[in-house]
């Protein structure tokens, strides 16, 4: 059975690194894996979506509406936007950070209210204050690894395997902060 995990956020939040940590961890578990990434213009502060799919044999690298087992959302509005992609009975893990998109900044649109309340009516929601945890780990940019930590806890893959991948994926300079961030996420 193929597992489909969607990672959504705002360009610049580090979703790419998160998808690579996830992809490389599941490979080491012996699965076939496909990771679909976003590069180029979409990375410049826009909505970004990456897909990670693993199982015995994976064909399509993309995830359609109603197909994601887990959505890992780095920002509230992006969590909401991705909701239709969640499978019935799927799990949404969402950072409670809010980042205003340009139409909100310029005043032509409003940031929706009570997003988490609306999501939890539709799906199982795990809310995370990833920004605070990342700051606690020593760098607010480690939000991505905090969230990977939270997600790791809800998989069958053992803790050590995740740590192993982080050690090989993250630049050595930031390793300590990231390992701490992962732990904080994992233990929340």
């Amino acid at each position: 059975m193929t597992k489909s995990i969607m990672i959504v956020g705002v360009g610049g939040q580090g979703t790419l690194l998160a998808s690579r940590i996830l992809g490389n961890t599941v490979i080491n578990e012996g699965y076939d894996v496909k990771v679909s990434e976003v590069h180029g213009m979409s990375q410049r502060g826009g909505s970004v979506v990456t897909y990670v799919k693993f199982g015995e044999k994976v064909y399509s690298p993309i995830i359609d509406m109603g197909e994601a087992d887990i959505i890992l959302a780095f920002e509230q509005l992006e969590a909401y936007r991705a909701l239709p992609y969640l499978k019935k009975g799927g799990k949404m893990i969402a950072n409670n950070q809010k980042i205003n998109p340009m139409p909100v900044i310029t005043g032509v649109a409003e940031y929706p209210e009570n997003i988490f309340e609306k999501i939890s009516k539709e799906a199982e929601l795990i809310e995370v204050d990833a920004l605070s945890l990342a700051e606690e780990a020593g760098n607010f940019k480690a939000v991505n690894v905090v969230l990977i930590g939270v997600m790791a806890k809800s998989t069958d893959i053992p803790y050590e395997k995740w740590v192993e991948t982080i050690k090989t994926t993250v630049p050595p300079k930031f390793l300590d902060v990231n390992l701490k961030a992962f732990d904080l996420g994992y233990n929340t």
Binding site: E37, Y59, R81, K88, I99, I105
Partner: protein, 579 residues
């Protein structure tokens, strides 16, 4: 050894394993990482960023004629720039293996059009392979070099965004070293003047005939039988979507070679099925071939010409099955388009251009985002380099007064790519345009590639740096001014003076990209109680500045990088820097 690789990284690996010696490219999403991966991982390969795709392609062509396996990689619109030598190389053929790797962008994730590059294969009579995952990216690259040498032709490798930017498993093999092939003078083959070209055209048509036969038997094209009466003819990423959507409910003819197409194979496959669908993104390339061969297929009548496909879409058309149940969002939610980053040097430029109400002839790069609200400053964006030449045309059409309200904006890398010739045209033909070169010290949009103005090669070796000032002066532009776009007052004065001038002028707006490691903005900005809530700072369109809900303004410290542009724009000195 197996490894998870991006399609682009797998193409690079394929080139390495195939014994390639030279790679020359110009960056362009979604193709950029191929050449970057070569530079990073395979020191055996000489590798460079060329100023544009035509130059890059010609470097690869020269290397191949010189006896080395060579490759050039580009995005779909880059192939337009390179098209000139491509058509003639079809006649010349090659000496050592020569591959042009072109990445299309269905869905336009990072492009200005959705062109289907398969038409180039047909138009130039050059064979084209198309992989479906990273493993095939690597293997097809190697195969492309073999076929290039066997059939004495350049070979296209066609990718699409989902292939280039998806990671999947790849079996790594060793490099097979290829000695340089001897270079022998051969005027009849390498000098394409009419007398020689007439003879070579005969060779091309004979090659076409042979390749069309080869297409029927090559293992690149595969039939997958599941005993179904539904037949699917497909290629590239569409195969993966179809396979996921339909599983063993259909039979497949998966084409790894999309030009020339295998007539007999297609006819035989179609004859065994009651209903045959052609599933291909963008244009009905395979479909039209089938129809012209008299094979009845269902294609664009059911499938869209626009954007990317999905398995759900295919399931619906072929099996009539609905999409899986899912939650709906019960309200309209704001979109989140890409924006210029916090600290982007272009923000200062566009703030001034908007303030002055100028017509802005734009170009391709991060600064295309200068068309997005609230700056909404850019008037036109067409292709690489057009900002300069199109503005010259506009000025010639509308006259000198209009020209005083008109500027071109073009990045440093784009100026090197194809802005210089436009500027030459302005000087030569007595124009008086003002061209602003947005010199942010790097090729930004594609993810920080060096270019001739940065002083470094692709492998970060120091090299001569093109001096934009002397370059523009040598063309004949006498008014060349360097200005910092964050010094808003001075920048505005400079722009005003230059558009007024009755001769060509160049403003070099110099400030490095905020994402460069060498740029160390620190701390962040904060609004103090001197704020009069005038909201001038919000006109910058900085992602860190938004309304606070009480009629005032707040700065999001997680987004702000402390660049200080808002401090410069505030008329009341109400924004300060804090650590």
């Amino acid at each position: 050894m197996k490894k998870l690789l991006l399609g682009n990284a797998a193409v690079a690996r394929g080139a390495y394993e195939a014994g390639v010696r030279v790679v020359s490219s110009y960056p362009g999403t979604p193709s950029t990482e191929i050449t970057e991966e070569v530079a990073k991982n395979y020191p055996e390969i000489y590798c460079e960023w060329a100023p544009n795709e035509k130059v890059a392609g010609e470097v690869a062509i020269g290397a191949a004629i010189g006896g080395a396996r060579a490759m050039s990689c580009m995005k779909h619109v880059g192939l337009n720039v390179m098209a000139d030598p491509v058509f003639t190389m079809s006649y010349i053929g090659t000496n050592a293996g020569l591959v042009f790797c072109v990445a299309d962008d269905p869905g336009m994730h990072s492009s200005q059009n959705e062109q289907d590059s398969r038409h180039y294969a047909e138009a130039a009579k050059i064979m084209m392979l198309e992989p479906s995952d990273s493993e095939e990216c690597k293997e097809f690259t190697k195969k492309a070099f073999e076929l290039s040498e066997e059939y004495d032709t350049p070979v296209f490798l066609r990718l699409s965004t989902r292939i280039s930017h998806s990671q999947s498993m790849v079996e790594l093999k060793d490099r097979e070293e290829k000695e340089l092939l001897p270079y022998e003078k051969n005027i009849g083959k390498y000098v394409m003047m009419p007398g020689n070209a007439k003879k070579q055209h005969v060779v091309v048509e004979e090659r076409q005939r042979k390749l069309s036969e080869y297409a029927n038997t090559t293992e690149l094209n595969k039939v997958e039988e599941n005993g179904s009466k539904i037949g699917i003819i497909t290629a590239g990423i569409s195969y993966m979507y179809a396979r996921e959507a339909l599983g063993d409910k259909a039979d497949y003819l998966k084409l790894g070679m999309v030009y020339p197409l295998p007539e007999k194979l297609i006819k035989d496959f179609a004859a065994k099925h009651d209903k045959v669908y052609v599933i291909e993104e963008l244009d009905p390339f395979i479909e039209n071939f089938c129809k012209s061969a008299g094979v009845e297929v269902i294609g664009k009548g059911e499938f869209t010409l626009l954007g990317e496909y999905t398995p759900t879409m295919i399931k619906k058309v072929v099996l009539g099955e609905g999409a899986p149940e899912c939650s709906a969002i019960p309200e309209q939610i704001p979109v989140r388009p890409p924006v210029m980053c916090a600290g982007c040097p272009h923000r200062g430029t566009f703030y001034v251009l908007k303030k002055l109400g100028l017509v802005v002839s734009g170009d391709i790069g991060c600064y295309t985002l200068g068309a997005v609200a609230p700056l909404a400053s850019v008037d036109t964006t067409i292709c690489m380099g057009a900002s300069v030449s199109a503005a010259h045309g506009m000025a010639k059409a509308r006259g000198a007064e209009f020209n005083k309200k008109l500027v071109s904006v073009i990045g440093d890398s784009t100026f090197m790519h194809s802005g210089i010739t436009g500027l030459v045209d302005i000087v030569y033909n007595k124009g008086a345009n003002t061209v602003i070169i947005l010199d942010n010290s790097i090729t930004g949009m594609t993810g920080h590639q060096d270019n001739p103005t940065t002083g470094y090669t692709i492998r970060k070796e120091e090299t001569k740096q093109v001096n934009l000032i002397t370059l523009c002066k040598s063309i004949g532009v006498e008014r060349v001014v360097v200005a910092d776009p964050f010094d808003l007052q001075n920048f505005e004065a400079v722009v005003k003076a230059e558009v007024e001038a009755d001769e060509p002028s160049v403003i070099i707006a110099q400030r490095p990209c905020a994402l460069l490691k060498t740029v160390n903005y620190t701390g962040h900005c904060k609004i103090t109680d001197k704020c009069k809530k005038c909201k001038v700072c919000m006109r910058l369109g900085c992602p860190a500045i938004s309304e606070d809900g009480n009629g005032g303004v707040r700065i999001d410290t997680t987004q702000c990088n402390g660049c200080g542009l808002c401090i410069n724009v505030c008329p009341f000195g109400a924004i300060e820097k804090e650590d």
